[in-house]
């Protein structure tokens, strides 16, 4: 734990996180699932509206839902912890003990950003200096409150209470509230988030965060610290092979390990076709027998090809950089056997129906 926090403090992860390639990988890993994003939440306004629509209108609505879902999946950034930077503006020995407590002076001019607002402190010995980040945050919250952020940190984030929350697997709730209460450049933000990610990695409950805005940062964290083995195993078990490949690529990218980048291009072609298929969900019904066969098996011939390529890539990872080698090889073997069976079934069905 201590080692991990040290890395966040001294090496800035922001440039790697903001990098376009990393963002693309993270977005792909997150997996956009509409029913999870727009699930019923425990809030007061939770109404469902039923309407009669033509097919075209429904397709438009689905498109709209996808754009909104992408907005909701925007990831909170991972940046370095900000260091306190207090400057002394003036020192006046004649003012020493002019008052028995200090004055905090805020410029409440309209239309100024929270981070740019001038907040200064006149100490009891007469020095005038700029406020430190902790004080700034408190004062900003007093004069310009953000909704749902509290002046004192919620007790939920205390060591014991947080442990209780994590044991109940309320990861998303903790992370959402953390994003409201703390800024990404605060020490507390990193402490709590890394605790949550480590707990998830221990209990292997990755699926709770999948298709939420926290899945990307979590995989970034795990990849940064080279702890992706459990995540990869989970992805293989759930048949998200392409994502497993992407996580491995991300780990290679972040730690400067050389690898063959051709695999990503191959996957890209596949995912683009996959996405377009998802977006025109109603077009599927129009297609003929071949689709039906694929659906009964759950996979098409192209998917099997892609699976083979990604399995090869994961095998290479398993041999060179994996930490939990035995578990990973076992999992891979299980997957290969299952896949082989499915492939045989598909071939048999195609033959029976006379599709070449």
């Amino acid at each position: 734990m201590v080692r991990i926090l040290h890395i966040w403090l001294y090496k800035d992860p922001a440039p790697k996180f903001i990098d376009a390639e990393t963002q693309k990988l993270l977005k792909s890993i997150t997996r956009l699932q509409l029913d999870k994003i727009f699930r019923n939440r425990p809030n007061p306004i939770n109404t469902v509206e039923y309407k009669f629509m033509t097919t075209e209108e429904i397709e438009n609505e689905v498109k709209k839902a996808f754009t909104k879902a992408r907005e909701l999946l925007q990831m909170p950034p991972i940046v370095q912890v900000e260091q306190a930077n207090c400057q002394v503006i003036s020192k006046d020995p004649g003012l020493d003990s002019y008052s028995n407590c200090k004055y905090v002076i805020t410029d409440i001019t309209y239309g100024v950003n929270d981070s740019e607002r001038t907040i200064v402190v006149r100490q009891t010995d007469g020095t005038l200096e700029t406020a430190d980040p902790k004080l700034r945050k408190r004062i900003n919250q007093i004069y310009f409150p953000l909704q749902n952020r509290h002046i004192r940190d919620p007790r939920m984030f205390e060591e014991e209470n947080l442990r209780g929350c994590l044991d109940r697997h309320e990861y998303e709730f903790v992370l959402d509230r953390m994003c409201i209460q703390f800024e990404p450049f605060e020490q507390k933000f990193h402490e709590i988030s890394s605790k949550v990610y480590l707990h998830i990695n221990e209990t292997k409950e990755f699926d709770i965060l999948r298709s939420t805005r926290h899945f990307g940062p979590m995989s970034f964290f795990l990849a940064w610290h080279k702890m992706i083995d459990d995540l990869v195993i989970d992805m293989i078990k759930r048949d998200y092979l392409t994502n497993a490949v992407e996580v491995i690529c991300l780990m290679y990218n972040l730690n400067g390990i050389e690898y063959d980048k051709g695999i990503l291009k191959q996957l890209e072609q596949f995912t683009s076709s996959f996405e377009s298929r998802e977006e025109n969900g109603f077009a599927i019904a129009k297609k003929g027998l071949e689709k039906e066969l694929n659906e009964t098996v759950g996979k098409s011939i192209e998917q099997f090809k892609i699976d083979e390529a990604s399995l090869e890539f994961i095998d290479a990872f398993c041999k060179s950089h994996a930490i939990k080698k035995i578990q990973l090889t076992l999992c891979l073997q299980m997957y290969k056997e299952g896949n082989e069976e499915k492939k045989r079934l598909l071939e048999g069905l195609r033959k029976a129906h006379g599709v070449s």
Partner: protein, 150 residues
């Protein structure tokens, strides 16, 4: 009179049910932009107006006509001052410096307590009264110390 009606309409806060109202929002206070009537050439002052309640002072820094009582409608509110130290032992002070500059440019007078506070905030030179208080406090502390040593 027509002008006054227009201004008083501003004071009615719009109750949009979609925007949640803070439970701490003042109920019977006019907006900070002020609803006070004033003459162009009358003398204006930036001064403190006491709010809060018994044994709990809280001040607004306001611009209003010099001759008016502090509890009458103000021209504009340009800051707040909480003279009671909070749990972190701080006195909170806020100014809208942009508007204060504007009113000083318009020739507004500044009352002594506000001038002292502006001096402490580093906007004005330190007020002589502040130096005097500091000197007296130091002297008192020194006296107490000598008594203790004796």
């Amino acid at each position: 009179m027509a002008n006054f009606a227009k201004l008083s309409r501003i004071s009615v806060p719009s109750r949009n049910p979609k925007i949640p109202v803070s439970p701490y929002a003042p109920i019977n206070l006019p907006p900070a932009s002020g609803i006070g009537k004033y003459w162009r050439l009358s003398a204006k002052a930036i001064r403190l107006a006491r709010h809060g309640c018994t044994n709990r002072p809280f001040y607004h820094v306001v611009v209003m006509e010099r001759r008016k009582n502090q509890h009458q409608p103000v021209i504009e509110q340009v800051g707040t001052y909480d003279p009671m130290p909070n749990e972190h032992d701080e006195k909170l002070l806020s100014f809208n410096f942009e508007r204060i500059r504007f009113w000083i440019g318009k020739g507004a007078h500044i009352s002594q307590p506000v001038a002292e506070l502006l001096g402490i905030s580093g906007f004005y030179p330190i007020h002589p009264r502040t130096y005097m208080n500091a000197w007296r406090n130091r002297q008192k502390a020194a006296e107490v110390e000598t008594k203790v040593t004796e």
